[in-house]
Symmetry: C2
Subunit: 322 residues, 2 copies
């Protein structure tokens, strides 16, 4: 069984079938990037419809036990996540309401600074702001996992310290292995290790690099090196795989409504389009090779279980509330 700490895009029936065939029986989705409260409710409503329409293949899970049960039935457990805190619209009291509606993972901020924290793409990372501290406290209480994937390193370290619960970096890599603004410093990886947090290793080419995208062995070598830094209990998978992503989706994800200009996010002016998937990861079915790849990298079965699903399940059990 594999749990993918983050995927995004427009899932459809084929997505769930592919995940099922690959043994990916748990996945955190991306319910929103920039959307405010009402738009986020709309997006969640669409996800509920999608999951209901494919109930033979998937179900929304709000606890680690539910994920296990859904996986045991051979279906895909969908964990509702957001890549930004705009769903709260500055309202601390909405945190518990979103938790009641099933949201279990929220990233403090996406590509831009906000009222919570600084982003990895700002010239300077502000650190955690007053409202950000309040939201983390409330997320701890309400049972929503704090995600710092696109959050700046400084804010991430402050979030780890401020949070009473371990936090996640659902989809990023070690900056020391592939230097990129979106990737995390060894300081962050060690702080995750020290506090029971988890990083999901990504396969998004822009933040993974061609070498680790070439073969499953190479990608698992990256995971092994990440384990060297963060420890076997703090490394998992968070591919950042996108489903049915089109040019308008990239435009929305990167420029949203915050600029009249162009922003390339993890890409660049010379690499503005859709990044090619890893050579080893052309279709969702290819995720089935991950456990074997980890074995080739020298991990034993207990370690493979931790990386593929155990670490996420442990973290979810610790942070999610019914």
């Amino acid at each position: 069984m594999i749990i993918d700490g983050l995927q995004c895009g427009h899932f459809d029936r084929a997505s769930f079938q592919g995940l099922q065939r690959a043994g990916v029986l748990g996945v955190v989705n991306t319910t929103g990037f920039w959307e405010g409260t009402v738009e986020s409710l709309d997006n969640l409503a669409k996800w509920r419809d999608l999951v209901r329409a494919n109930a033979d293949l998937c179900e929304i899970a709000t606890s680690a036990d539910q994920i296990r049960a859904i996986a045991a039935s051979g279906r895909v457990a969908v964990i509702i996540g957001f890549q930004n805190a705009n769903l709260f619209e500055g309202r601390i009291r909405l945190v518990e309401m979103w938790a009641e509606l099933g949201v279990r993972v929220v990233q403090l901020t996406y590509n831009n600074q906000n009222d919570l924290a600084g982003s990895c793409y700002e010239d300077e990372d502000s650190g955690l702001a007053r409202y950000g501290r309040q939201v983390i406290k409330e997320m701890n209480r309400a049972g929503i996992l704090v995600d710092c994937s696109h959050v700046g390193n400084r804010s991430t370290l402050m979030a780890i310290e401020a949070s009473e619960q371990p936090i996640a970096v659902t989809h990023a890599n070690a900056d020391s292995l592939f230097p990129h603004k979106r990737n995390k410093s060894d300081d962050v990886l060690r702080a995750l290790k020290d506090t029971g947090g988890v990083i999901g290793c990504a396969s998004y080419r822009n933040i993974t690099g061609d070498h680790y995208c070439k073969t499953i062995e190479n990608w698992c070598e990256m995971i092994a090196r990440t384990v060297d830094i963060a420890g076997i209990d703090s490394v998992a998978i968070g591919t950042d795989r996108s489903h049915n992503f089109t040019a308008p989706d990239y435009a929305w994800m990167r420029t949203g409504r915050w600029t009249r200009g162009v922003d390339y996010g993890a890409g660049s002016a010379t690499n503005a389009g859709k990044a090619a998937p890893p050579d080893w990861f052309q279709t969702l079915d290819d995720m089935a090779v991950i456990p074997g790849g980890l074995k080739s990298a020298g991990f034993d079965q207990a370690e493979i279980d931790k990386i593929t699903h155990g670490n996420w399940l442990r973290l979810y059990a610790q942070t999610f509330r019914a």
Copy 2:
């Protein structure tokens, strides 16, 4: 004629009558603190109704010429201002639309860090964020004056540098004269001087102090000392006077929806309620003593004209667009 760079609270017919009697024939209002786009439209709609219902006493002005014309008719020119950027809700393209609806002054952020900039009340001022730079550029283009009163000193200096137009600190004092997080460093005051910006000196006791609140002479002494730092062309009046303010208004202004706790804003745990107005400024009518106070402080008529209205009119003429 006096122009007050910022007032807040629930204006009523008596407010306009008081302003009129005192010769305050231009005033920037506070249309919103934390309100998002739709709530801000609601607030603007209420202001339009209020001004229409009192058309014999006031009118909304969107240009310096209009302010002059309304003042010449003996009525109060209302300039529509917001103390936060939530009216844009992260949407760069709403800036010009709000300008079309008559908004002429927008503060980059209020008491908390946001997606534009850092606040004076955060432990650390983030500086200007990516979206903040974009919004300033768009406000310059659309003809909305950038206000940095509650913005941190660092972000304020960055805003002055980023803005193609001079900016305002509509309501604050010199930190070197009365040390307070809400007041501005001499660096900021000198940068305003160098760029044609304007600071409106406040009379809100929490940021002015008992000494400068004691007599009109003392308050005008503070203005004279501010002129020593910022120069005669960059100092004006921005009292921060609140109309019909009640405990729920303070709660909204300070804690908004961002915390379950208590925030005291410019007050403190031992000074949580409504700050007493300056001894010399018990009613709006008392504003009539300002020109005389400035004369006693040694200003000549040309200087008094600049401080009481000329500097604001010059800045408004330069930044507002029809």
